[in-house]
């Protein structure tokens, strides 16, 4: 789950992602990217959305891309992949990258169930949660703002009544 409101723009996720997957530190090889509007103070984490109807999967001419239901991810089989980069072109999020050194495409694989971006993000802008909990957490976050207003109203009423 990516939450732009919590992101502080530090890009540690990019660093740990590249180290975990490539063994080198290089944000340009990270599967996650923080897109910034620095002059407005907004930072948006972007990564693979693991689409249900994935354009990369559909466009792949050799069927190297498939859905892995156990981890709810879209994955690349590098033994089948021919490196044509059609998936890079098809992805609407820019989440499929291409490593010019290894000549291979790359995308988020949830670190096989222990995503390092989420593990290192102390503010919780990147979280790895069960799909059926995502909506619940967002509902709570939104309701908290409403609750804060209600608390203020209650406090104001209490002071008036005194």
């Amino acid at each position: 789950m990516l939450n732009y409101e919590k992101c502080t723009g530090c890009r540690l996720c990019e660093m740990v992602c590249s180290v975990k997957h490539e063994g080198v530190l290089n944000p340009s090889k990270s599967r996650i990217k923080i897109v910034k509007w620095e002059w407005e103070g907004r930072y948006v984490p972007m990564s693979c959305q693991q689409c249900i109807s994935a354009p990369c999967l559909q466009v792949c001419p050799v069927k190297a891309i498939s859905r892995d239901e156990s981890l709810n991810r879209v994955q690349v089989d590098y033994d089948t992949c021919i490196g044509c980069r059609m998936c890079v072109a098809a992805c609407p999020f820019g989440a499929m990258g291409f490593n010019a050194d290894t000549k291979k495409v790359f995308k988020c694989d949830f670190c096989d169930g222990d995503p390092q971006c989420a593990r290192f993000c102390e503010v919780g802008a990147v979280q790895y949660v069960d799909a059926d909990r995502v909506a619940g957490e967002k509902q709570y976050a939104a309701a908290e703002k409403f609750n804060a207003v209600l608390q203020k109203v209650a406090a104001a009423l209490a002071s008036v009544n005194q």
Partner: protein, 635 residues
């Protein structure tokens, strides 16, 4: 590898560009960042040159661990000869610039000469290009960065730039990257301006190979936990450095109305809690989980609707306690001005406050100020003077010269109202009740400054065994230590130890909030030894790192001595000894620094540094550290 990052040499007069590798031997001796900068500066600058002439040298760098998994390693360092102090010019800032410089293949840039026309440098994947800056000359710091990105067609370019302040050679102009990551002090922006160098842009996609990547990753996790579990960093992450203002102003440890007071009374409107109401969230530097930068939109006034970052403790003081203003909007607006104009907020605020004291004492009149009512508390005067200093209008032109030169021009006894060391205005704390902090500012290598040797934890009244634990590593210390910040006991050792520690982190490129600066439980020599090994493969014991810091601290001192520093420059202004603090808690009110005890502290401090009683490093010290034959031109 961090080990394969290079030094670029750029001669702006001839346009000649070359680069050299940095050997393991050099790394072990001077590490990188500020430490290696001290070596490069000492070796490349001729003594006695005019700081604003083409003969000056500017070195821009990232630390040895820059951009690695050592948490918050984004600090950049710029050094040269200071046009403000005529001694070591040195400033340090965070953000995202040096990680990008590192990914572009470089750790250090040595810039010499002067370009015939305004230019900027573009560093990308091993190449350095000199580009025409006619489109950005005259622009503010933020606009400059946006224009260069558009020009280069790449939104990921990170830029270190100067503003109009640097172009107009304001002697305390700074360099800034992003919104507010300022290399604030000693006027390095003016040095770049004097070279017609508007900015350095970096973009890189080169692998940074870590020596032991998985170990570095796991150790970083542990490192981050240690850093974010410190209470001080949790507070920083919520409200930033303004929390320091609350803690120190309430006691009477803040400089107010130039030096007339040590506390701004009734300051609720500019306290951290009040500023926090205007904050729209926090931002972080590269890889840092502390996220101590506030984001804000100015709600009203001349700059209504403008987005910027800050304000920090220094802004609260420079535009609050110093000019005696209690208006948060003025603090936000002046913070934005200093970010946009590229001038040091601290020096600018100090110069304005000094002029205000002169105005109230009749040394300056409305004739001198072009009709501006410079009395303390006039918020509009602060905003007006910021602009006039930057563009050198009227009195602003004089104040832009910095304290000593301005006092010489104004005359009439104005110099006795200056609060400065080595020609740089004191920071915004009042050290009359805190001998350790007073010793720190008197002896700091770049003039009055807290980020070179301040034992800030001295204010926490920590028990003696805790102090002993902290200050006895990695070298043993069994002399006296005192929990009382008003005492003179053991303070020279604490200042010496902090000087070593800050040189250590500045050389590695780590932020000071991640070491014994404001918190007593943060990483130290032992932890650095390990992050250096995991990330770079270089094995250095804590003691070897300590010795490297001793070496580079001595090199900075040698630089200053070569430019004319003597013991009398390691001194406070008379007001510290003669005017007792008028306000504050009972333990702080009525204090001055004792001249004789202060002298004894300096003697001891020199002794710990391996200097003689005149503050000159002893030949045996230089020999032990292997810098007795400088300049050695190894690089």
């Amino acid at each position: 590898m961090p080990l394969d990052r290079r030094v670029g040499y750029i001669n702006l007069t001839t346009g000649k560009i070359e680069s050299k590798p940095i050997s393991r031997q050099i790394r072990k001796m001077f590490i990188g960042g500020r430490g290696l900068d001290a070596y490069l500066l000492y070796n490349n600058l001729k003594p006695g040159v005019d700081a604003l002439s083409p003969d000056n040298v500017a070195v821009i760098s990232g630390g040895f661990l820059c951009g690695t998994l050592a948490s918050a390693t984004s600090r950049y360092h710029v050094c040269g000869k200071s046009p403000l102090t005529n001694m070591l010019g040195s400033c340090n800032g965070g953000g995202f610039f040096t990680p990008e410089l590192t990914m572009a293949g470089f750790h250090h840039l040595v810039i010499t000469g002067k370009s015939p026309k305004p230019v900027y440098l573009f560093v990308h994947n091993g190449e350095i290009e000199i580009r025409d800056a006619k489109n950005v000359w005259g622009q503010g710091v933020h606009e400059t960065q946006q224009t260069i990105r558009e020009e280069l067609g790449d939104r990921e370019v990170k830029i270190l730039a100067i503003g109009p302040g640097g172009e107009k050679l304001v002697r305390f102009a700074n360099v800034i990257s992003g919104l507010k990551n300022s290399g604030g002090r000693t006027g390095m922006g003016a040095v770049l301006g004097s070279k017609n160098l508007k900015a350095v842009a970096a973009r890189g996609t080169m692998d940074l190979k870590l020596a032991h990547p998985m170990e570095a990753l796991e150790y970083d996790k542990r490192f981050i936990t240690q850093i974010t579990s410190a209470k001080v960093n949790q507070t920083q992450g919520r409200i930033g450095t303004p929390f320091i203002f609350g803690a120190t102003n309430s006691q009477g440890l803040v400089r107010a109305e130039n030096f007339r007071k040590n506390q701004l009374e009734n300051a609720d409107a500019i306290e951290a809690e009040a500023l926090d109401e205007l904050s729209i969230g926090m931002a972080a530097c590269y890889g840092c989980q502390v996220h101590c930068r506030s984001k804000f939109i100015i709600p009203s006034g001349k700059y209504a609707g403008v987005y910027d970052e800050g304000p920090e403790y220094t802004h609260q003081c420079a535009f609050g306690s110093e000019p005696g203003c209690r208006d948060p909007i003025t603090i936000l607006a002046a913070t934005h001005q200093s970010n946009m104009y590229g001038i040091d907020c601290l020096e600018a605020g100090s110069m304005i406050a000094w002029a205000m004291e002169l105005f109230e004492n009749g040394i300056l009149t409305e004739k001198d100020t072009d009709g501006i009512d410079l009395r303390f508390g006039n918020t509009e005067a602060v905003i007006a003077m910021m602009e006039r200093i930057t563009y050198r209008k009227g009195l602003g032109d004089i104040l832009a010269e910095g304290p000593l030169r301005a006092a010489k021009i104004i005359g009439k006894g104005s110099e006795k109202y200056l609060v400065q060391v080595k020609g740089m205005s004191n920071l915004n704390s009042d050290e009359r009740a805190t001998p350790a902090l007073a010793l720190n500012i008197a002896t700091a290598s770049r003039g009055s400054d807290h980020l070179r040797s301040r034992p800030a934890i001295d204010l926490y009244n920590l028990p003696e065994p805790v102090l002993r634990k902290i200050y006895s590593q990695p070298v043993k210390y069994d002399g006296p230590l005192s929990s009382d910040f008003r005492s003179y006991e053991g303070k020279p050792w604490q200042v010496f130890w902090q000087e070593q520690t800050y040189m250590g982190v500045d050389s590695l490129g780590i932020c000071k909030y991640h070491t014994t600066f404001l918190g007593a439980t943060l990483p130290n020599w032992e932890e650095w030894s390990r992050v250096v090994y995991y990330n770079t493969g270089i094995e250095m014991t804590p003691l070897e790192l300590w010795t490297a810091a001793e070496r580079t601290n001595n090199l900075e001192r040698l630089f200053n001595i070569r430019e004319g520093l003597t013991r009398k420059d390691d001194m406070l202004v008379d007001r510290y000894f003669d005017e007792p603090t008028p306000l504050g808690t009972p333990g702080i009110r009525g204090r001055t620094i004792d001249r004789e005890k202060f002298k004894q502290m300096i003697d001891l401090f020199y002794q710990y540094k391996g200097c003689d009683e005149n503050g000159m490093p002893k030949p045996e010290t230089l020999q032990r550290l292997g810098i007795d034959k400088e300049p050695s031109h190894l690089l």
